[in-house]
Every structure is written in structure tokens, then in C-alpha cells.
């Protein structure tokens, strides 16, 4: 049943204004204004303090077409898109699958639910420590176990191996972050009408068929939300690769993402540190445009699916 929001008469307009205004103002002041400031800064050569020199589009030119920056930037963009593909093709289906399993109340559901959620609760610096514990080339647990069981020559350098670092990264993301999306799916599944489900059980409908014909179509809200948010988070991925491999982007830049490139070039390192807010702002403006574009495409696609 499609819901039609009603156009209200003028008397009620004010009530809805009362609902919308606080959020709109708060958001506009604390979120939109800084973004507008960044757009403003991106046209200047500015270190963050002191004189600002207007240079028009030079920052963008250097970023997108410069000999040195553009390979770095586009490599990072490629990594983001690679990761986005993983999110849409691997992570979201897993989230749906697991949410459905929990919905079906397989054995130990409660325990599994808690255990799946627990990694999400850990802050990223702890995850960084865990990766040291597990994956370190010399003292990591994994390598020790492999050396004891199979022999030293089979140990791997994990995060230092350009062939497996990306896959390992996706695995770590799944371990830590998958459960938030799963929870959203799960909550939405709970809201599917009991009567319909019970009717389907009585009719002898199999689990798989039930999922595709009854549960999934009723999860429009969470599907759209989840995919929208996942897409945006995939494009702004920063925290986890930062704790795993540092701001340099990992082995041969294989875990370099555009937010990482931004961080590196806006703030440098303290030891040769020139903070370059002008250039950094231009990177983030380009990021914003790309992410908006990706989101718009996703949104159109989702709208088409909705109908």
C-alpha cells in the first residue's frame, strides 16, 4: 500500500515547521557551514593560519591532472570503488542472510547475536591492537600457530603482502562493522506482520521462498537506508585502514583511500609538517562531488527498484 502524505491546510503548517526547524537549524549551522567554509578554502593556497592567497582552480588542477598527485588520487579512488563493490556484492548479502538466520531463530540465536555485535562495540584503536596481536609478521599469533603446525615457510606477512592485504582488510571490516547493518535489517524484519508469516508456515512455504517473496519485499525501508548509508561509508572509509596500516596507505598504496589521501596531504606528518588546508579542502570538495554523484546514481537505481 503506497502511503500518500497529505498536504495540510495552512493551520497545520506551523506544527510541522516546529518539527522540522530545530533539526534544520542545528544541522545547517554545525554541519553545512563548515562544509561551505571548506569549499571556500579550496580556492586558496593556505596553510591554516596566516595569509590566504587566492589561486582559483589551481588546487583542483594539481590534484586531478598533476603528474604526482593524480596517480595517487586515482589509485585511492579505485580502491574506494573496489571496496564499494565488495560492500554491495559481499557484505550486504551477508548482512541480509545473517539477519534472516537470526529472525528464523536458529540455535543459539541469542548468543550468536551478541557475539556478532560485540566487535562493533570496540573502538578502532583496539582493533588496531588486535591486528598487531594476530597479524604481526614476527610475533603475531597467526604466524606462530602456522609455524608450529605447518612450518615456518608457510607464514605470511598478512598486512604486508600486497596480494592479500585488501582481502584481509575486507575480512576485518566484516568482522567489525557488519553487525550494525545486520541489526537494522533484523529490526525491520521484526516489523513484518506476524499473520502473513504464520500463514506462510501453515501453507508449507520453505524458508528460502519465504525470504524472497514475503520478507524481502517488506524491508524496503531498511534496504534503502542500509544501501544508501553503506555506499556513503564505503566512499569515506578512513578509520580502520588508518589503524591497520597508518596514514601512508599500506603496502604499495593498496589500502589507500581518498579520505586517507586527504588526511595525508592536508595535515602531513608533524615532522616535516606543513598543514595545507587549502589543498586539503580541494581534495575534500572533490570527494564530496564524487560521493554525491555515487549517491545520486544509487538513489535513482533504488527508486527504480522500489517501483
Amino acid at each position: 500500500m503506497k502511503i500518500e502524505p497529505i498536504r495540510l491546510k495552512s493551520r497545520s503548517n506551523h506544527a510541522y515547521l516546529g518539527f522540522i526547524l530545530p533539526g534544520l537549524i542545528l544541522y545547517s549551522v554545525f554541519v553545512i557551514i563548515p562544509i561551505l567554509c571548506s569549499v571556500f578554502y579550496s580556492f586558496f593556497e593556505w596553510s591554516g593560519i596566516g595569509p590566504m592567497k587566492f589561486i582559483g582552480l589551481k588546487n583542483f588542477q594539481y590534484l586531478l591532472f598533476g603528474d604526482r598527485m593524480s596517480p595517487i588520487f586515482f589509485n585511492a579512488l579505485k580502491n574506494n570503488l573496489k571496496y564499494l563493490a565488495c560492500v554491495l556484492l559481499i557484505i550486504t548479502p551477508i548482512q541480509l542472510f545473517l539477519a534472516y538466520m537470526l529472525f528464523l531463530k536458529i540455535r543459539y540465536s541469542k548468543y550468536i547475536r551478541t557475539m556478532l555485535f560485540l566487535p562493533y562495540v570496540l573502538s578502532t584503536s583496539i582493533v588496531g591492537f588486535f591486528s598487531l596481536l594476530l597479524f604481526d609478521g614476527n610475533i603475531g599469533v597467526l604466524n606462530r600457530v602456522i609455524a608450529d603446525v605447518f612450518g615456518r615457510q608457510y607464514t605470511l606477512s598478512w598486512l604486508g603482502d600486497p596480494k592479500i592485504v585488501f582481502k584481509l582488510f575486507v575480512a576485518i571490516v566484516i568482522w567489525q562493522c557488519m553487525s550494525s547493518g545486520m541489526m537494522i535489517f533484523y529490526a525491520d524484519m521484526q516489523a513484518v506482520s506476524r499473520d502473513v508469516i504464520e500463514a506462510s508456515v501453515v501453507d508449507g512455504c520453505g524458508d528460502t521462498r519465504r525470504f524472497f517473496s514475503i520478507v524481502l519485499p517488506n524491508m524496503r525501508a531498511s534496504l534503502i537506508t542500509n544501501i544508501t548509508l553503506s555506499v556513503i561509508y564505503a566512499m569515506t572509509m578512513f578509520g580502520l585502514p588508518y589503524v591497520l596500516v597508518g596514514p601512508s596507505g599500506g603496502v604499495n598504496n593498496s589500502l589507500d583511500f581518498i579520505a586517507m589521501v586527504f588526511y595525508r596531504y592536508a595535515f602531513g606528518g608533524t615532522y616535516y609538517g606543513t598543514t595545507d588546508i587549502g589543498f586539503g579542502s580541494s581534495i575534500s570538495v572533490v570527494m564530496l562531488i564524487i560521493i554525491l554523484a555515487v549517491w545520486l546514481i544509487t538513489d535513482r537505481f533504488l527508486k527504480r527498484i522500489k517501483d
Binding site: 500500500m1 510541522y16 555485535f117 570496540l122 568482522w175 516489523a191 520453505g206 525501508a221 592536508a266 570527494m287
Partner: protein, 283 residues
């Protein structure tokens, strides 16, 4: 009213589900190992950590906890974290749910634009925003103040808004209509009818936002510069920066930091599972 029931097809589906169940339990051992090691290691002295990083503590000691609580005053940080997160959550949930409800119920041109407008907040790295934010807050003397920071957190409502908005869009109007005919005003409808129906969504969003705000160290580092107003995550972060020197304290600090979150999780997850009358809201 909800009764829990079991969907049991008995058509070979059960073995498949059991295998999946076992696999997931095995998978959970990774988490148990990591978290368990953290907790166990919090009872080891420095010397023992060097030799025995993954294993049971041979001479368990509470020294690390004593250091963390007594010398470093973690009680203060925990309190600050709790205050900050409560204030932020309170503000954010109210503001974003009202915003989403208002937008979902009211039709006007430019709605699509506003949807995108509210998502932009997620697309920009936070480190660039701190300069204008700090300047704004310092003009109203709200830096170094939990309420100032709570305002900033509440303003980052993109995630909460998106989830609420999609959910409210799907709400049936029949219930709202009948309440309005009975003469209730809009706000009363929202508070007494819509909110109770949406409990699972509120719980989910609340829980996820709680975790996001609790685990954030960057904004507190910028805005809460004095030691008294520091939060727990910030304290732990400053330990992990100097990991090798402090590693005996880190384990106990992390264990302590986990406890409030686990409490909140257990409190909220029941809400999410319960589902309640949400089931009857959709047909």
C-alpha cells in the same frame, strides 16, 4: 501483542540451519579469543605480558586496575563519557526523529533535495570542519563544555535522520488520521502514538549512535582540552598512542571501557527484539 514462535519447516531446512548455527558459533570464537585475551591480560604484570601475551595469567594481579582507577582517576572519565553521551543522545534523538517525522508527513517541493541535503554531513571529513566549528563555539564560550560538544554531536544527525525518515515514510496514516479526528494536536500524536510504535527503530538508532559517540575520540580531543572534562575513549586513546609503555594499563582500561557499552547493549537489544506493536502497524 507479540508471542514468540518458531518457524519450523521440517523439510531438511533444519540440518542446513544447524550447520550454519555451528559455523557461526565457531566464528564467534575469534571474538571470544580477542576480547578474552584482553580481559585476561589486564590481570598480568608487565613482565608477564612480555613472556605470556596469550594465555592465562600465572600470577593474577589487580595492580593495573588500581593504577587506572586510583592514580589516573578513570571514574572521572567514565562520568564525563556518560554525561556527554547521554546529553548528545537526548538532543539528537529528539531533534532527528522530529525532523524525520515532519519531513515524512508533509509534502512539499524540494523534498528530494532536502534528503540529499541531510546526507551531505556524512560526505565530508570531520578534521576540516573543526576550524569553523571551534571558532563558532568559542564565540559563544561553549568550548571545553560538554553541552557545546553535545550540540555538535546532535547536529550530526544524518545517520539517525535517514533511518527514521525511511521508517516514518512507511507508517500508515490510518492511526494518525483517527487520532487527529479525535482532536489530538500533532505533537501529542507524535509523542503518544508514533513513538511507541517505533520503539525498535528508536532502540536501534539509539544503540548505534551511542556506540558511535562513545567511541569517538577526535571531537573530544579538539573541544574538551582540559583534563577534568576528558572522556574515557580519549584517555584510552592517549594510552594507545604510547602503546609499548602503557600496555599493561591499556588492557585494564579497555576492559573497563567495555562494561558500560555491554550494559547498554543488553538493555537495548531486548527492545529491538521485542518488536512489539510494530507488527500490527504494517499490513
Amino acid at each position: 501483542m507479540k508471542r514468540s514462535y518458531d518457524i519450523n519447516t521440517g523439510r531438511g531446512g533444519r540440518t542446513g540451519k544447524n550447520i550454519i548455527s555451528v559455523l557461526l558459533v565457531l566464528y564467534s570464537f575469534i571474538t571470544i579469543f580477542l576480547v578474552g585475551d584482553t580481559v585476561l591480560s589486564s590481570f598480568k604484570t608487565k613482565q608477564e605480558l612480555v613472556k605470556n601475551l596469550i594465555g592465562l595469567p600465572k600470577n593474577p594481579t589487580l595492580q593495573n586496575y588500581a593504577t587506572v582507577f586510583v592514580e589516573e582517576g578513570f571514574w572521572r572519565y567514565i562520568l564525563n563519557s556518560v554525561l556527554l553521551v547521554s546529553a548528545s543522545l537526548l538532543l539528537m534523538m529528539t531533534v532527528s526523529s522530529m525532523l524525520a517525522y515532519g519531513m515524512a508527513q508533509y509534502r512539499f517541493r524540494g523534498k528530494n533535495f532536502l534528503q540529499g541535503y541531510f546526507l551531505i554531513g556524512l560526505m565530508m571529513p570531520v578534521q576540516l570542519s573543526i576550524l569553523p566549528l571551534y571558532l563558532m563555539l568559542s564565540k559563544v564560550h561553549l568550548t571545553n563544555n560538554i553541552w557545546g560538544l553535545a550540540l555538535v554531536y546532535a547536529a550530526n544527525l544524518s545517520f539517525a535522520f535517514t533511518v527514521f525518515y525511511r521508517f516514518f515514510e512507511e507508517l500508515p496514516l490510518s492511526v494518525i488520521e483517527s487520532a487527529r479526528i479525535d482532536g489530538a494536536n500533532d505533537f501529542k500524536i507524535f509523542a503518544s502514538i508514533v513513538v511507541p510504535i517505533s520503539k525498535p527503530v528508536f532502540s536501534t538508532v539509539g544503540l548505534l549512535q551511542f556506540i558511535m559517540i562513545w567511541n569517538d575520540f577526535f571531537l573530544p580531543m579538539v573541544f574538551l582540552t582540559q583534563k577534568e572534562t576528558q572522556t574515557l575513549t580519549l584517555a584510552i586513546y592517549s594510552y594507545t598512542c604510547n602503546f609499548l609503555r602503557n600496555w599493561d594499563k591499556i588492557f585494564s582500561a579497555v576492559t573497563v571501557a567495555l562494561i558500560p557499552i555491554l550494559i547498554i547493549y543488553f538493555l537495548f537489544s531486548e527492545q529491538i527484539v521485542a518488536g512489539l506493536t510494530a507488527g500490527s502497524a504494517k499490513e
